[in-house]
């Protein structure tokens, strides 16, 4: 019997039991939908993150000092050890283009004239080149030592009247002290500029480490007036130590990055650095590029995905058992029909093919519905967290293959039972 005929007959008997067939495929639908949804989300997440690393960021290495055994993402277990002098010295190294600190200053609120909005994200303090030129939609980078800030669109648009370049804002930092900042630039994206921030979109205010972090860390309080422009006095006035350091290599060439990373590490771990007094057995300096940090994130995502796929596999297994069960019922129910077919000349393989086809159809329908549902789920999810949508098409193909496979596996035993049915017994069956 040709496969098309099997398909026609099998489809007919499936249609004869619509509800039963629908319920049978549900397990497969759920399993496949889960896989597709999470894989779509994962792929979109990945595209969203990787897509955000511009070439300039690629030449950055992000460093912090932590217990070497600490596991985790950027800044995990980091301790404040880097001084301004360290930063300057690292910046002067031949292999290094620039080096600056990175810190967040906790805040309570931001005011634009009369209007005040809550701001828990803090101020992100770093060096001017942290906001890369091509990331600026308006204005310019802030300057070190000035009371200037660059805002991202989410931060600029949170006021009734959008903040523009030239506006002056008042920031209330944790503890109630107030700082003024002049907005000198607006970025083109609300997503994070580096792995230190995370990549999600949220309102962010970028400021120079000097004066904002130095006066904060050295406990100078609100006294730091507008004369904070003096770099050296700020460095001397306190023991401002940075949790994190960003080192820019001359290019994003791997050799350059490694050279910058090595010389920075060497310097910081040598006795010449201020950081060295804390380093040693307890703390070690870690430098990572965003790609490497993303890899860590990727590993977490992969782990999560494997977990979901594992759960989905269980669901598929349950689904297969469901199909197998229904097929067995169906074989028993149709014993007489099988007998008739064999009596009029159906070969064992015809009967086998018929029931196997039926199981495969159930599996494939489940896979197709599951794929559709999963894609919708992934789409809604990606929309919701505002990620570029990426459909992993190879998984869609894979899902169909899995559907066929599940059908074959689930249908094999019932179909074999059907094929072996003795026609005389079957015809006598009531």
């Amino acid at each position: 019997m040709n496969p098309l005929e099997s398909l026609r007959l099998a489809w007919r008997s499936i249609r004869g039991h619509k509800l039963r067939s629908a319920l049978t495929t549900l397990g497969i639908v759920i399993g496949i939908a889960a896989v597709i949804a999470f894989v779509t989300l994962g792929a979109s997440l990945q595209a969203g993150i990787i897509g955000d690393i511009s070439p300039d960021d690629q030449r950055n290495v992000y460093g912090w000092a932590a217990d070497p055994d600490t596991e985790g993402g950027p800044l995990a277990g980091a301790q404040p050890v880097f001084t301004d002098d360290d930063l300057a010295a690292v910046g002067d190294l031949d292999e290094v283009e620039a080096a600056y600190g990175y810190a967040t200053i906790q805040t309570q609120a931001i005011s634009n004239g009369e209007e005040t909005v809550a701001q828990g994200n803090g101020l992100i303090a770093s060096g001017p080149s942290y906001i890369r030129e091509e990331r600026l939609a308006e204005g310019r980078q802030f300057r070190q030592g000035e009371r200037e800030a660059v805002l991202n669109p989410a931060a600029a648009n949170q006021f009734e009247e959008n903040v523009t370049v030239g506006d002056e804002l008042t920031v209330t930092i944790l503890g109630g002290e107030r700082r003024t900042v002049e907005v000198v630039g607006i970025t083109d994206t609300s997503e994070g500029q580096s792995p230190f921030e995370g990549f999600e979109s949220s309102p962010r205010v970028y400021v120079p480490t000097d004066p904002y972090y130095t006066e904060q860390a050295s406990g100078l309080g609100a006294g730091g007036g507008d004369d904070g422009g003096d770099n050296e006095s700020a460095g001397e006035s306190g023991e401002a130590r940075f949790l994190a350091i960003i080192v820019e290599a001359p290019s994003d060439d791997e050799a350059d990055i490694d050279a910058a990373r090595e010389s920075a590490t060497d310097y910081l771990e040598s006795d010449r650095s201020d950081a060295s007094e804390f380093l040693g057995d307890d703390l070690a300096v870690t430098f990572r590029t965003s790609t490497e940090l993303l890899q860590q994130l990727q590993d977490v995502l992969d782990l999560l995905r494997n977990f979901i796929v594992g759960i989905a596999a269980i669901s598929l297994l349950v689904g297969s058992i469901g199909i197998a069960n229904i097929m067995l019922v169906s074989v028993t129910e149709r014993t007489r029909e099988i007998g008739i077919m064999k009596a009029v000349g159906a070969q064992n393989r015809d009967v086998l093919g018929l029931f196997l086809t039926e199981a495969v159809i159930l599996g494939v329908i489940g896979a197709i519905l599951g794929t559709g549902l999963g894609l919708i789920g992934g789409y809604v999810g990606a929309e919701y967290v505002d990620l570029p949508l990426v459909y992993p098409l190879e998984y869609v193909a894979l899902a169909i293959v899995v559907g066929i496979l599940v059908g074959v596996l689930a249908g094999l035993y019932p179909a074999w039972r059907a094929a072996r049915t003795d026609p005389i017994d079957a015809l006598r069956y009531e």
Binding site: M1, E337, G339, V344, N348, I424
Partner: protein
């Protein structure tokens, strides 16, 4: 007809079921069925009629002895060859019709050809032809449960004939039918017989059996006696003479 070859031959066939006490459903049956003959099989319930039909229909194999159908010893064939022989050489008509409930009349009739790999359009054409021959031209699209008992039996009959079998086996084909419908079916049997098909019909009823050339009486799994009937048209001598008259007229 006297020179006809043997369509079915059984030699010392035994069929024994062993469920506790062995039951000899057939206990040494030898029978030759000439090609183109019309044989009726009678006997009390449990005498082995259906068992015999299943053997001749290649649905079953004997415990002992040899069954030859269409020149081939059934017990030497493997399952596949036996199935093929069953599909092409014999047409089975069952007392309970045994139609596929979800297939309409045309599809039911065409079913045996499906397993012979015959093309769909060709199958349907042939099925419609046969339905027309059994007088059901207008019922092709009906499901079995939309047909009367007699109509169902005629569909079953058409199905039995679809592969042009040399032998048609009918196990109590009219058991469920009223006299009029029964007569219709039996007339169709006569038609096939006249067309050269070997007919073997199991029945409990004398008047059904009398349409045959001979009646084989079974008792307890053995052939009790074989009753040869005069001519092969004992029941309808009128139609026989009616049909032979013009022939004579032509030859004159």
């Amino acid at each position: 007809m006297a020179t006809a070859e043997t369509a079915v031959s059984l030699s010392d066939v035994r069929k024994t079921y062993r469920i506790g006490e062995p039951v000899h459903a057939l206990d040494g049956v030898s029978l030759e069925v000439p090609e183109g003959s019309y044989t009726a099989i009678m006997g009390p319930s449990g005498s082995g009629k259906s068992t015999l039909m299943n053997l001749v229909g290649c649905l079953d194999t004997p415990t002992e002895g040899e069954v030859v159908v269409g020149g081939r010893a059934v017990d030497t064939l493997d399952d596949r060859e036996r199935t093929r022989l069953r599909g092409t050489e014999v047409g089975f008509v069952f007392q309970t019709f045994n139609l596929m409930p979800r297939l309409n009349a045309v599809e039911n009739v065409a079913l045996p050809q499906l397993f012979q790999g015959i093309d769909r359009t060709e199958r349907r054409e042939r099925a419609r032809d046969l339905l027309e021959r059994v007088g059901l031209a207008d019922r092709g699209d009906h499901l079995p449960n939309e047909l009367s008992g007699g109509q169902r039996q005629r569909v079953a009959l058409a199905r039995a004939l679809v592969n042009d079998p040399a032998i048609v086996l009918a196990d109590e084909p009219s058991g469920n039918l009223d006299t009029d419908t029964e007569a219709e079916i039996l007339d169709l049997f006569d038609e096939f017989h006249d067309a050269g098909t070997t007919m073997i019909v199991v029945t409990h009823e004398r008047h059904v059996a009398e349409r045959a050339d001979r009646i084989v009486h079974l008792l307890d799994g053995r052939i009790e006696r074989i009753e040869e009937l005069e001519g092969d048209g004992a029941v309808e001598p009128a139609s026989r003479t009616g049909s032979s008259e013009p022939t004579e007229a032509d030859s004159e």
